[in-house]
Symmetry: C2
Subunit: 408 residues, 2 copies
């Protein structure tokens, strides 16, 4: 029995007309003989509206009750979609995360999926039903309702794809695939037909918001192909799959960027590895993600550290770092809030040295000053001022992608 | 540990301001030391709006998915109420029917509660939490979501009161108690301070819509006092309790009426008890409730039967009865759709004969013609034409209630 997983986002179930359209699309696929598991988000706008209701009665809503409120969104959309499919004469069953046993940790608002027992799902599929499952939500061993955080429905779909050993997970969204750069910034950007898990991970981590990193990690682990495509029309989107199965080997797969970064630098620190560890332990304890860290050993007995955080975490990180700095005589803190980063990503870099040099030269030719650099085997990230991000993305796209540079 | 159960209807949780008001009221009660279980309905209007959404995608929504959709209403209101209580600094926990284990039969849209294990509820109460439970909904052994039908939240509250051996169930509603007659029809009607379960059952069965019969039956079985009161202000409402504990013994407790009845009569039937049974078996199979049955043996070898049904069931009942009549030569069917009934109810009737005679004389003096009569030990019901119902209710109220007729 081959299982196919489809995921539809909130815009696809925003109103009765859209729900009927999706029902038609699903029934058409089911009629080809595929066993279908469909994951659905809450109707577009509903999550924000529910958060608004919670904030009307509470200045800082408790995660447990907030999750219960948010979970009503998908409970509504799955039931409506099941009704719409039944109306077309097909058998369908809606399952909440509790009913589908999407088991998570006991953490509210950003739980991680622990396991999905498949016996009930397989039983429903074998009885000829299309199974409609609430995305974004989970249930703990104590029957508490949890939610998975940003990108949660994509994670549900991917986890189900892995658990059910699905042929493919189709993620229907409001973009029609992964692009060589953000098309709003780089008009020449082209849709990427196939991208490896590693490249997609680097794209997602570098600012491309089409798919959450956790989905890509999960899919990579189970070698599950993901097809990211538009819910409007029937055009093929982007396949995220194993690198070896991609014939066309580009040196650079795409350019990703992010504008909302901030940089904090501490100079005049003693050369002590433990000081270093202390600082980042404290920052992590506040749930702040540190992105790029550059350590510089100066000429004297001191060292300096620079690190990048999301701009929304800047104030908290600056506060922690200031307290840390006060322990060391002569240490000094500086910060810059208006930073961004631009990344060049491609599995082909492994076999094509010299990409970094071309990146630096391209930016230098544009007069862009590079503040920090971070490289992995398949990615080069440059931290630059936010106001130069778009120019940098366009010039790097012209250099690497616009000419269709293919490495065979 | 004395547990107190409160139930708030949809108007009490219709918006943030109302929710905060209810939270304040609950916290005030909790501060008196009572252990509180609070049952909440869906926000006013939400159930209708959700049914509307279901009907937009399905001409006849499946009960299973419809129940899942409806259950989101209480899931929202309990979570918001718990947040509002937490905002006031008290501990509170919201529980869906699935989490509270309100176990029902596997029937959708009108399930009956089978059992409520109380260990989890008692544990939460003992830990100092106010427990907020979703009314109207239940869960089956297979983790399917069910709903209890009309009056469902009152039933949840009463069942919880019984299971937890509560001191009292307070049902907050938009009327401030049970009246000696419908105040919209009989302006002289007065609030009844105390009414016995039996009287309340007869009132409910006779058209008084304040509380569902299933609640009263359940409360009577467990001798659980119910206090029916208004959610606006703090006035005492009506206590529904054991008859023996009510000091003030009225001959007549109140007048109830219902306007939407219909009568069907079959004449010329053979005198066969089995024919009689066949007809009502068939009617019951169609889920039609037969209210009053009057059988009349004429002078010859035939008999006639008249029965009352809710007007909405008239067409179906007439059809079944017509088919039945065709089996018997000479049998003839007639029907009247514009009937109503007026009832005089009081436990005091048991010890005060002659009430029936006074009922008939009062109606006769008003020129009201009585079509059928049904008497129990504590109730006299007269079936009359709908257009005479209000006049009949007023005159019976004047005869029995307006003078405050008390039997000591």
């Amino acid at each position: 029995m081959e299982v196919w997983v489809q995921k539809y986002g909130g815009t696809s179930v925003a109103n009765a007309e859209r729900i009927k359209d999706v029902a038609n699309r699903i029934v058409k696929t089911a009629k080809t003989g595929k066993k279908l598991v469909v994951v659905v988000s809450a109707p577009a706008g509903m999550t924000d509206s529910l958060i608004g209701k919670a904030k009307e009665v509470s200045h800082a809503p408790n995660g447990r009750e907030l999750d219960m409120i948010l979970a009503t969104g998908e409970q509504l959309s799955i039931s409506l979609l099941a009704l719409a499919i039944q109306e077309l004469g097909e058998k369908a069953i809606a399952l909440t995360a509790s009913q589908a046993r999407i088991q998570t940790e006991s953490v509210h608002t950003k739980a991680r999926i622990k396991s999905i027992p498949t016996d009930k799902l397989l039983k429903e599929l074998e009885s000829g039903k299309i199974v409609i499952i609430a995305g974004f939500q989970g249930v703990t061993d104590e029957n508490e309702i949890t939610t998975l955080g940003r990108g949660g429905s994509d994670i549900t779909a991917t986890a189900l794809g892995c658990a059910l050993n699905a042929g493919e997970v189709e993620i229907y969204t409001d973009v029609d695939g992964v692009y060589t750069a953000d098309p709003r910034v780089v008009p020449q950007a082209k849709k990427i037909p196939r991208i490896s898990y590693e490249e997609m991970l680097e794209m997602a981590g570098s600012g491309a918001k089409v798919l959450h990193s956790r989905c890509v990690e999960l899919a990579a682990k189970y070698r599950l192909p993901i097809h990211l495509r538009s819910s409007f029309g029937n055009t093929i989107g982007t396949y995220i799959q194993e690198g070896e199965t991609i014939m066309e080997q580009a040196v650079v797969r795409g350019i990703a960027h992010s504008k909302s970064e901030a940089k904090i630098t501490v100079t005049g620190l003693p050369r002590s590895p433990s000081a270093f560890a202390d600082l980042f332990t404290e920052i992590a304890a506040q749930n702040i993600n540190v992105d790029i860290v550059v350590q510089d050993f100066g000429e004297q007995a001191t060292m300096s550290i620079s690190y990048l955080v999301a701009r929304e975490d800047y104030d908290a990180a600056y506060e922690i770092t200031t307290q840390f700095t006060q322990k060391y005589e002569g240490a000094r803190i500086t910060g810059e809030k208006d930073m961004g980063k631009v990344s060049v990503i491609g599995i082909g870099m492994r076999s094509h040295p010299g990409v970094a040099a071309r990146v630096f030269r391209t930016l230098s030719n544009e007069g862009v000053s590079i503040e920090m650099v971070s490289c992995s085997e398949i990615k080069i990230t440059c931290v630059i001022h936010e106001k130069e991000i778009e120019k940098a993305a366009r010039s790097l796209h012209t250099e690497f992608c616009a000419r269709g540079e293919i490495a065979l």
